[in-house]
Amino acid sequence: MNAFKFLLTFLLLAGLALAAGSCSKKADPNKLTSELLPVADNPLVSFHILLKVGSANDPAGKEGLGQLALGLLANGGTKTLTFQEITKRFYPMAAQVDLAVDKEMSVFTTTIHRDNLDKFYALFRDMLLDPGFREEDFNRLKADQLNFLEKTLVGNMDEEFGKDILNLALYEGHPYGHQEAGTVESVKSLTLDDLKSFYKQNFLQGNIVIGLAGGYPQGFPEKVLADFAKLPEGRTPALALPQPQAPQGLEFVIAEKQTPATAISLGFPLAISRADDDFFALWMAVAHFGEHRQHLSLLFQKIREQRGQNYGDYAYAEHFIQGRDKFPATNTCRRQQYFSIWIRPLSNSNRHFVIRQALRELRRLVEEGISEERFNLVRTYLLNYTKLYAQTLGERLGWQMDSHYYGYQDFLAEVQQRLPQLTREDVNRAVKKYLNFQNIRIAIITQDAVKLRDDLVANRPSPITYANPNMPKEVLDEDLAIQVYPLEVSPEKVRIAPAASFFQKPGLPQQ
């Protein structure tokens, strides 16, 4: 039955792609492209309207412009309807438009029941193609964006704050090097005219991919494409991305605030992305080392399970946003990637120990690679787990779009082909080629920052204690090695700044 269903989907897909006269491959780069995934028996319809423009395209001094301008489309009125009126009309349909802005792409997503498709689409189309640029919407969203930067991110969500500090540290002076929401200074300077200019310069056919999935009626994609084809042809010139500066040794950035728990994120730029053949091998190694929120993760086993230090510890071979459940979100593709480790908040008293532990484990990974047993386990895991990545309509559409971005027909099918061909040696070779344990940027949110710096620089022993008086001997023995594991930390490479000083201006705060 599933084979028949696949055939049916394939036939419809092929027919509609032809009928729409558009496909993402070999298209005129100045014209619209589309990604269609018809599923005739599904009562829902998902839209992913992707714009190949992200925060990296924000002009200097206007960081956060893309987020605010696109936010105004997703959460503002049209020329004929106020946002209040749109909200009222959306309500009976349980409709909403979500927006995600990443470094090099942004996406408007929504899923609607096909009962409401025509009514919803008429509103959605006008939001994107006939926006009102209303002063009151602008003021509301600008204030929200400023509050997010000044209060929420810095004061209310340390886990995300830590990841954003790492991003600032990894990409100083680089187009990726600011929070998608910008800085307090830049957002304050944005005007409604800036947003109108952004729209005019970037809402061009060649920047847009129309993604549609589900049980839409015949002829619907053609209608959507015809509407968006009224946008001017053209595209935003490709952004030149310099190589991010490689860390020189261990480089710390500490945001200081009063807190009972320390949040830690660390990493370095990678010269590889999902588009590269070596990615599969590196991805396997990183899954072994720190698969997101899975027991498989070695860091999770060592830091949480054996020692109860915190809620979890993970590592990533590319930028990772958690989507539904624990699965990766889609439509956050980038040309340049980074490796990272995420240590969830832990007691301040154990921070030095865990920094040592994470770096020591990374060293062991680089020097020793992974065992044959772990290699086989990780491969089996990934072959099965990735079958769950694309379940909802939106996920299926998102993975289809991302596959094409990175040059694959179907990345998840590619996984099933490639992984069985890899050897442990391939994985360990990729580890040696792309990972390192000496040149790393480390972002920390904690209190008593000077003490931490001094402890790090002096390589002071950092023993820890446990509630359990009968900890296993092998754990205690390993602790003896961890607590004195030497780190080469120069005082000038430990930058300390008050938490409230982050995101005020571009880059990291000055000391």
Partner: protein, 449 residues
Amino acid sequence: MLRVFALTAALLLLLGAPLGLRSQGSKVFPYDTKVEVLANGLKVVCVPLSNPNIIAYYTIVRSGSRNEVEPGKSGFAHFFEHMMFKGTKAVPRPAYDDYLTRLGAGTNGFTSDDHTVYFVVFAGRDNLEEVVKTEADRFINLYYDEETIKTEASVIEGEYYASVSSPERRLAELLRDTAYEKHSYKHTTLGFLKDIQDMPNQYDYSLLYKKRFYAPDNSILLVVGDFDQARLMELVKKYYSPWQSSNYQLVTPVEPPQNKAKRARLAWPSKTLARLAIGFHGPAFSDEKIDKAALDLLAAVAFSNSSPIYQKLVIEEQKCQNLFAGFPDRRDPSLLTIGAVIKKDEDLPAVEQAVWQELERLKTELVSAELLSDIKSNLKYSLAGGLDTSDGVAGTLFFYISLTADPGSVNKLFDLYDKVTPADIRDTAKKYFTLPNSTTVTLTGGQAQ
């Protein structure tokens, strides 16, 4: 071509997919559910779907923080959820991790006021027996020693730390602690910090907890997706029959009526948006009595993003970044909460006053039939939007099953929504939204560090 159309029709019948919610007679939850009960009391709810090759296997234990009725035991249901991943003598922890890893399953547990739920979502019906066998084993034969519980207790403290910077978490703790006098809803699922810190010493209690609540007569299996019903039941009977029922009768304290308004305030150590939460003691979930259904609709009438007060405070005057109402479904009477995130501290009193004015208006004015119809439509389409995968169906249905043990509750509730009239909304507003029945908590920021 004819064959393709015939195939489509067959698929629709097989999936039971709704042709449209407007279709006469269609149920909001459209799938057939099959229920069987084992001799030991274990209820099994099955929803077979031809969803491509994915099975969602949920174990619902009808025990959550509601069951933490003894002093010093707050947070224990959640703590025990962690212990459920520690393995058995037959399948010790490393082997259990190994099984889940090889299966490549989406798996986790989560705890709420009324339930603790464990799910394994996996590909391939060939794996069904291994999942049934291994899950049954851990529910029947869970084994851990005193050392294990001590280490895991510090993980819980770490989980507390993970959200320590969240004002919502702290405000929710304060609201419950202030509003309730006796009922175990007084604490959040994570529990009071002092009780979390005492968890390393609770080994004996953990054994008692398991005996009382982790029993077939307090649990329900929910299996959704691509499997054969007869084969599933054969496996369930084989592996779950040895599970001993507990017959334990939980008595939750009755919360006395609140006769005087309460207030509390929280200072935040750094810059933050201000928060307001007003809680009112409300009814328990029911798919038969009109009160809770009317309140669900009332929450939307008054505080959804299309409501007049939301439009005024969030969109027009822009005093609030957000405004919302949460009237959660709970087995025992629980709090109806109205919350606001406020941009300037000085606007907090005005926002509070505006919320009260809206509530007073609802006690006298009748809601228009058109608005009520829009809200019922929203609730139906919101539910339908989450039903396109095995996991989505299970993730929706488990919640209603945990409340009543009846998979039919979801459609009964929506039938009840259809019966709610504007007068019902006015009457429930009068009944519950009184000053003496209210608890107000606020949070405002201090100086940035």
